[in-house]
Symmetry: C2
């Protein structure tokens, strides 16, 4: 296209050409590989299983039941179409009043009813993706820094930085204390950043953590609130997994801490929450992102910005009705937690059978899987990527390597477990178990052959052997009667996951 | 909120505090006035009638009929709920394939079927608001300039500039040639900008024009395509009113011109179209904005950015079905054009009765009304705003003054006519007629009393007299049997209008 020899790149913006969109990471590479060969129980049983996508498909049946019982909640039914004109024309950036009220109410319920939210502070945005970018635009200038505990959500590099020019400085967490964030670590990173003449504007947390699935305890949160108040920097807490918790532990929202901490220790103008219905309700397609700020100026500014990513009024109306149905919401949250717990238990127990452990967690749609013992070189990220490529292309599971989350230790992987049905999960587990078992056998073979020095340096042959064995084991799997077609996300969104 | 004496402003970004969001313009002030006292035929017959909102409510009955006949197109009906899980989880930023195909097809139909669009170049965005910002982020760096013929859409100051840092330089058009844009005027503005050491990155047009309702002829468009190619700058054409045309004139899309112009005269890498369903389909609440670019790199970049403002998958699915219904689309477009034409005719004829003329136009949801003869001082924008405040607060019509569209001549007003029912339109027309008639009477009274020097300088009394007369005439209006409650947009969105 265009004139021969025209250089289209030169006429575009720096943003368009600076490759800061983050899609070059392995996180997205895995999705692309999955896209080319997506698993389906009956149609493509040898395909790649998507375990890189933090979707929650476990409770959509409850929503479907609600929809069947509430046709008046939609403008596309005989019972609801009379509202069509009003809704189709509704573009007020405050959002439907009953939508904002329902969201505020749901946010409270999703935090165990221990805290309330003011509908007037609920600002819409295009998913958490849009909400996180919006809050950056409100708080920081290009070149300003936000601190983020690492490992952190891979697409933050795009969402927080790409168009805003904000810089991220990680606060490294490590396995030595189970990746627990401490205020000391934050203080250290803050000091380091200042020494490099960076202007630190705030700290961003995901709580529950993506990718760890862990939750911050109340005391740490209090310490962090005191820290940001003292330093006069912002605290943005992305709580999109607030109700995606499955152990007895109660998730603690920063909203609770704001109420708890002594008034002299918190400047609430510095505290902001990002929320979404993509994870807790399992509705990522609906693009409901929320900025909730205690700062009046931020509410006002973010609302003006929300014009760039409003929630469809059709979707607002339906969710307004659904989320104000108290009985439905309570049952949904309880059932969601229960089913997630069961799924997590089945998955981690299955991994244990393959001698694989995960970081202990109580939230999220994923586990933080420890494969350090399978690395060729335990200190090398090259080894992590080497192992990851085997998992993608041979084991045929799209998991995400820790390096794509800026983890500082090689050998950790984020593995999603709620975006598939039970049958697919079983296939995934057996592939992993099979892989580890083959790997162990190979090690024995390797040891034996090393000793006998028979097939030394014959890597090509060995590789072939491994592949044919894997293929055999796959065939066996599908002959085991796993034939019912299962739900599997057919799409690889290069967004929030 | 916050610590006493804390200065929240200082800790926010420049964007949050630079007041470049454009909401200080009269355009928005009028909406706020309307918000406080919205007209309703039966509930608030003395309220302000909203004529500042470019909504199309004339054909929503056709969409409602279609919805009733196609329950399977929605995930919220018994017939469609089986698709719920797939759709609720769909967050691929490419959009549903059938949605993209339907949009591309509709874009062709909306341009008389004289041109086709490639679904692979259709990029979603959060309304035209989001689409216009996205294309700026793709094409220009902070400080770069886009030329825009003035008068131009008031909210461009926000959409194109606020978060991108792009600067706008107007290309002034005037009544001397009916506000026609010429390539010479563009060339002059380009030269001026260069002389001020500004880096001009492109030209943005609205075609059909908002606020003028006029359309560019093919020859001018060709000249502009040649101009941007020669200067190696971009041409962005916002065609969101492409099918909102009501005269025999055929709208010419830049897509047609790209095909028509000799290959040596156009670098298609520089040509981009913004589209939306807010105006042509009357669905602003659904937030469907489209970036359509002939430049592969822009398509790729804009698609990555679309993550910040995707269209709800619920909405995508419904529209995919509706817009691929050939019979529906053809009938809708024909009927829409017909009803708009009738409405435009009724409105402009009504204005003529009050000796008010408008710029001749054949598209848009508004007229460009000439009230220069009613200004106290024909050369003063203060007089325009003075008259505008009377129209808002006394005549009780929210129209938009030309100055809020950066018009360089005082006395022009944009008046929307398609966001209300026939009864409300009649009330609006009679208010205008009444106002002009009172105004003329007052002039006669003024002249007489000036001569007799009886009530000289007694402005307060005169004002009171005017108000009581206006009130009387209003009362009469509502006693004329206008009692059926009419459709009226109850909301004042501070966004695309």
């Amino acid at each position: 296209m265009g004139l021969p020899g025209s250089n289209s790149g030169a006429i575009l913006s720096k943003i368009a050409t600076n490759n800061q969109h983050g899609e070059n990471s392995e996180y997205f590479e895995g999705w692309k590989a999955y896209d080319k060969d997506p698993f389906h129980l009956s149609h493509n049983p040898h395909g790649i299983i998507q375990m890189g996508l933090a979707e929650n498909q476990l409770c959509l049946d409850l929503i479907k039941d609600w929809i069947k019982e509430n046709p008046e909640a939609s403008i596309c039914t005989l019972e609801g179409v009379h509202q069509f004109s009003d809704i189709a024309n509704f573009q007020d950036y405050h959002g439907l009043k009953k939508f904002r009220e329902a969201i505020a109410h749901f946010m409270g319920k999703a935090r165990g009813g221990r805290v309330t939210f003011d509908p007037e502070r609920v600002v819409m945005s295009g998913g958490a993706t849009g909400a996180n970018e919006t809050i950056m635009f409100c708080l920081a200038d290009p070149g300003d820094v936000f601190l983020i505990p690492s490992p952190y959500y891979a697409a933050f590099d795009r969402d927080l930085r790409w168009r805003t020019g904000v810089e991220i400085i990680p606060v490294p967490c490590s396995s030595s204390n189970n990746f627990r964030l401490t205020v000391e670590a934050v203080g250290w990173a803050y000091k380091k950043a200042q020494e490099s003449n960076k202007k630190v504007k705030g700290l961003i947390l995901t709580n529950p953590s993506n990718p760890l699935g862990t939750m911050l305890d109340k005391d740490t949160l209090k310490d962090l609130v005191r820290f940001v108040t003292k330093k006069n920097i912002h605290l943005v807490v992305d709580e999109i997994y607030a109700a995606t918790v499955f152990s007895g532990d109660n998730f603690v929202s920063v909203a609770e801490v704001v109420n708890d901490v002594d008034i002299s220790e918190v400047n609430v103008d510095l505290i902001h929450i990002v929320y979404s219905l993509s994870k807790d309700m399992g509705l990522p397609g609906f693009r409901v992102g929320i900025v909730y700020s205690y700062n009046d100026s931020v509410v006002s500014c973010a609302r003006k910005m929300s014009s760039f990513g409003l929630v469809s009024s059709q979707t607002q109306l339906m969710l307004a009705s659904m989320l104000s149905d108290e009985r439905f919401v309570e049952n949904f949250l309880m059932e969601n937690s229960k089913r997630l717990g069961i799924r997590h238990e089945v998955f981690t127990t299955g991994l244990k059978k393959a001698d694989i452990t995960c970081l202990t967690s109580s939230g999220g749609l994923f586990v933080w899987m420890d494969l350090r013992h399978l690395l060729r070189d335990r200190n090398s990220f090259e080894s992590e990527i080497e192992l990851w490529r085997i998992i993608i292309h041979k084991v045929k599971l799209n998991v995400s390597p820790g390096s794509s989350f800026h983890c500082t230790e090689p050998g950790w992987f984020r593995v999603c477990f709620a975006n598939m049905d039970d049958d697919t999960l079983r296939v995934a587990l057996r592939r992993i178990q099979d892989f580890v078992s083959k790997n162990n056998n190979n090690k024995i073979v390797e040891k034996a052959t090393d000793k006998d020095q028979v097939i030394q340096n014959n890597n090509a042959k060995k590789q072939k052997w491994r592949q044919s064995n894997l293929r055999l084991s796959f065939r066996r799997l599908y002959e085991d009667g796993l034939s019912s077609p299962g739900i599997m996300s057919p799409h690889s969104p290069l967004l929030r996951a």
